[in-house]
């Protein structure tokens, strides 16, 4: 149970901000500044110490045995953020890696993701970027905004963690120095000890000597070069639990008296019209769902099978008309220019035109949506995988008519997130079912529900027009992108104060297409936000998941039209982008760009910047016996500094596989308002048998600012594969997924 510390900012009652209240708050700048100036800069009581433990500020806790515990506000969904945070603290503190531990941080302003206020990377989801810019750091603390998304965990928290660890180290050093009657400058920390000549005091003993009321000595950050762990691969802290089955995921929670629930949702954009169940079935009705409970999930599902339910859809049911509308919009003259420079109409030369399209995608986290809820005495507790504690608190509170601080969310490990678990819909459902049946409830969606009631990656149709001079120079780039407004769809459900009633053209929804790295005299990007009924969500790398395919497929087609080598053509337009050029060359070198591929195969290359990092990929692939075969993938990344290089490599590997999977076989289509692909036999995810025979990763040395890692490796996969297959077969495919176009 999180206790409200005495000096924490006052919580607004039932703080689910209305659009009106929010605008007033955010608009009244003077009032805000005065109000926030009175707030404390740190929250020493944010976190509780166990018996014998010493809290050294909100980020470091030391046990009597010397164990150092770090709170992690970011969701651990496989990206290794728990170990990343522990590594930054351990390094600055001078701790022993074997003695590091982590805990989920409580929902408290001290741990809010204030890094999104800077949004320096420009790689955050549009809505969040807007929120961050509009509000600034103090307002994010006031909102107590916790969010894992946009590949920003390390860049957002790195400086705070280091500063906190340096302060904790200074306290430990001062305490030990006093005990030894020497100057604090004479001692240092090393591998879990405070050291003075031959004297070594373990952290556990030093922590006990720290006087919490004493102002800490001014901390001095260690230089990068003197930090023993920075840039070193370390064993991840969460992996032992993940090889023996003991890691606790959303559905691994067990509560006394708990029952299990099964759920069936209506079509997208639908609402429940009527439902009935045989006697003895505990039927629970929701806005667009019905649920039933049982002593096991199996019993609950059998009970749900006996429920008759009908749903109604207002407006046009999702179907094949959406693809037609998108194609019409891309070919038409609607939408609005959201980025431009120069005059594209005036660009004179050879004109190349191409249309590209991508389908709806589902997240298919291996862990389907799940939550466990218990409601006792006007308070609710919910356990589950979640990427935003804040949205979970707000929405569960609102659904139950409680104040937000009468809700406690216990985050578990996420069995995959990829953006899907930013939304707490399963938590809200579990809470409502628990309330209805008067018992603790564990809700586990079936895979069919998980796909059918996803927050889908939006489908896209784009028309690209490029102008080349006779000497192979790109001088004009014009694009019209028809894509539903993802940011507004997310905001309408989750951040109503940021939502508008009408979808508006905006650069955020076509990120990666509103700006390209290549030098071109005249540039224009037009966004047409086509309306459609499916709920849209953030899917790993968000808009970049489609913009990479469009931009980099088109660059290859332009190179072909210019009669140029795809690598040389790109480099020729990157002369003022040395980091981009270096990443591209690194991928090309390791991917044997200059060497011929085996017979029947060819290499494809792509470059894409997102989330503050620059990625490039070379894929060697071909079509063998009517089947796409991927021989080799080389994925290169410049993410500034790679603090935990093995985690970076894991993310590059995973992003490549997920990107190739989407490019080859993934697609959601709708009929009569429902997704047609509901399990893995129809929603085809890449398996080991079809994955690259060799997958190499290259971390490009760089002195750039800390960039994202979880998502930037994904956008290059589809275009590099498409470019390789076009080169290998002579047939260019501009519509994903690729497999069906190449399958004999």
């Amino acid at each position: 149970m999180l206790k409200t510390p005495p000096d924490a900012p006052p919580r607004k009652s039932r703080f689910v901000p209305s659009r009106r209240g929010f605008l007033i708050g955010a608009g009244a700048t003077l009032g805000l500044v005065v109000g926030y100036a009175l707030w404390p800069r740190s929250w020493p009581n944010a976190w509780e110490a166990g018996e014998g433990e010493t809290l050294l500020g909100p980020w470091v806790k030391i046990g009597p045995d010397g164990r150092v515990t770090v709170p992690v506000p970011q969701a651990e969904m496989g990206q290794g953020v728990m170990s990343g945070f522990a590594q930054i603290v351990a390094d600055e503190l001078g701790a022993n890696w074997q003695m590091m531990a982590v805990e989920p941080a409580p929902w408290h302003p001290a741990y809010a993701n204030v890094g999104i206020a800077g949004a320096m990377t420009g790689g955050l989801p549009g809505v969040v970027r807007g929120l961050g810019k509009r509000l600034g750091e103090e307002a994010i603390r006031r909102l107590n905004l916790h969010l894992t998304g946009g590949s920003n965990s390390i860049s957002s928290y790195h400086d705070q963690l280091r500063a906190a660890a340096a302060e904790a180290r200074a306290r430990l050093e001062a305490a030990a120095a006093e005990e030894w009657s020497v100057a604090a400058s004479e001692v240092h920390s090393e591998n879990g000890f405070i050291v003075y000549k031959a004297n070594r005091m373990p952290f556990g003993a030093a922590a006990k000597l720290v006087d919490p009321d004493k102002e800490p000595p001014a901390p001095v950050l260690r230089a990068v070069a003197t930090r023993p762990l920075d840039g070193k691969p370390l064993p991840r802290l969460d992996l032992p639990l993940k090889v023996d089955g003991s890691a606790r995921f959303g559905a691994d929670v067990r509560l006394p008296g708990m029952v299990y629930a099964a759920i069936r949702h209506g079509p997208v954009g639908g609402s429940l019209a009527a439902a009935s169940a045989p006697k003895g079935v505990a039927l629970v009705k929701g806005p667009n769902w019905v649920a039933a409970t049982g002593l096991t999930t199996w019993e609950a599902r059998r009970a749900l099978d006996s429920v008759e339910a009908s749903f109604s859809v207002s407006g046009r049911k999702a179907g094949s008309w959406i693809a037609e509308e998108l194609a019409k919009a891309a070919a038409g003259d609607g939408g609005k220019e959201v980025a431009s420079h120069g005059d594209v109409a005036a660009a004179d030369g050879t004109v190349i035109v191409a249309d590209y399209g991508l389908p709806y995608l589902a997240h298919v986290c291996m862990e389907p949506m799940t939550a466990t809820a218990r409601i006792v005495g006007g308070r609710a507790e919910v356990w589950g995988p979640i990427q935003s504690l804040t949205l979970a608190h707000w929405q569960v509170a609102e659904a139950l008519g409680l104040e937000a601080d009468a809700v406690v969310i216990h985050p578990t490990f996420l069995g995959g997130g990829f953006g899907r678990k930013a939304e707490p819909d399963a938590m809200v459902e579990a809470a409502l079912i628990a309330k209805a049946v008067g018992k603790p409830v564990q809700l586990i969606w079936s895979r069919e529900e998980d796909i059918g009631t996803d927050r889908f990656r939006p489908p896209v149709q784009a028309k690209l027009r490029g102008v080349l001079t006779a000497d192979r120079k790109l001088i004009g780039w014009d694009s019209r992108i028809a894509v539903p407004a993802l940011g507004n769809s997310f905001a309408q459900r989750n951040l109503p104060m940021m939502a508008s009633d009408e979808d508006k053209p905006n650069a955020g929804d076509i990120e990666g297409l509103a700006e390209i790295p290549y030098a071109v005299e005249a540039f224009r990007a037009i966004h047409v936000p086509v309306g459609q009924p499916a709920p849209l969500g953030y899917w790993r790398s968000v808009g970049h998941s489609f913009s990479g395919f469009i931009v980099e497929s088109f660059m290859d087609e332009l190179a072909a039209a210019a009669g140029a080598d795809p690598l040389a053509f790109r480099l020729a337009h990157l002369t003022d982008k040395p980091r981009h050029a270096a990443v591209l060359k690194a991928a090309a070198d390791h991917g044997k760009w200059g060497e011929a591929a085996p017979k029947g195969f060819a290499r494809g290359i792509a470059l894409h910047e997102s989330f503050g990092s620059i990625a490039a990929m070379v894929v060697t692939a071909g079509v063998v016996g009517g089947r796409v075969q991927i021989l080799e993938v080389v994925s290169a990344l410049d993410c500034g500094r790679a603090i935990a290089p093995d985690s970076v490599r894991q993310q590059l590997e995973g992003a490549a596989i997920m990107g190739l999977s989407a490019a080859l076989g993934e697609e959601v289509t709708f009929a009569e308002g429902e997704a047609e692909q509901r399990n893995f036999h129809m929603y085809e995810v890449l398996k080991l048998a079809d994955s690259p025979h060799r997958l190499a990763t290259v971390i490009v040395p760089s002195d750039g600012p800390l960039g994202g890692v979880g998502e930037p490796g994904l956008p290059c996969a589809a275009p590099a594969l498409a470019n390789a297959l076009a080169a290998a077969t002579g047939k260019r495919v501009r519509q994903l997924p690729l497999a069906k176009a190449y399958t004999a």
Binding site: P233, R236, V243, G245, R248, A251, G654, I657, M658
Partner: protein
């Protein structure tokens, strides 16, 4: 009847005989290391051993395996020291970890019948889905586990 041995413990479930083994293990025995991923035998997250053979536990009813020996990830080894688990940690395979119990059980069963698998053997045998894309490390770790089992 629904009597069989789970991780060495004689067990009788007081559940309907058509209950899939997956739910009996997870919700009656609280052996939550075995995961639900698809309910259709497609993803492999629920893989356990029945009499030493890798099986998708969402597809087996408890009434159909009377008298068998079921092993879950919790019963694979003491102190997570099965060669597959050792190799998994050495190669830092898991990311989110959700599919990994099933993946490890599938790998352990493969190595029991084929102690020296080629890459092609591994690709043919492991059809489990991993959304995080740990496949390259899964392949490497299985080769390493085979080496460890041979004493290397």
């Amino acid at each position: 009847m629904t009597r069989f041995t789970v991780n060495g413990n004689p067990t009788q479930y007081q559940l309907a005989a058509d209950t899939p083994l997956l739910w009996a293990l997870r919700e009656a025995s609280n052996l939550t290391g075995t995961k639900f991923g698809c309910g259709a035998g497609l993803c492999g997250a629920c893989t356990v051993h029945v009499d030493g053979v890798a099986q998708r536990s969402c597809q087996i009813s408890i009434g159909s395996i009377e008298g068998t020996y079921v092993t879950t990830i919790e019963g694979l080894a003491d102190d997570r020291d099965h060669p597959v688990q050792v190799a998994w940690l050495e190669k830092q395979v898991p990311q989110c970890g959700f599919c990994q119990s099933g993946m490890i059980m599938a790998a352990a069963a493969l190595l029991k019948t084929n102690p020296n698998p080629s890459r092609a053997d591994i690709r043919a045998a492991i059809s489990n889905i991993c959304r995080c894309g740990t496949y390259p490390r899964v392949e490497t770790a299985i080769l390493r586990a085979a080496e460890l089992m041979r004493g290397g």
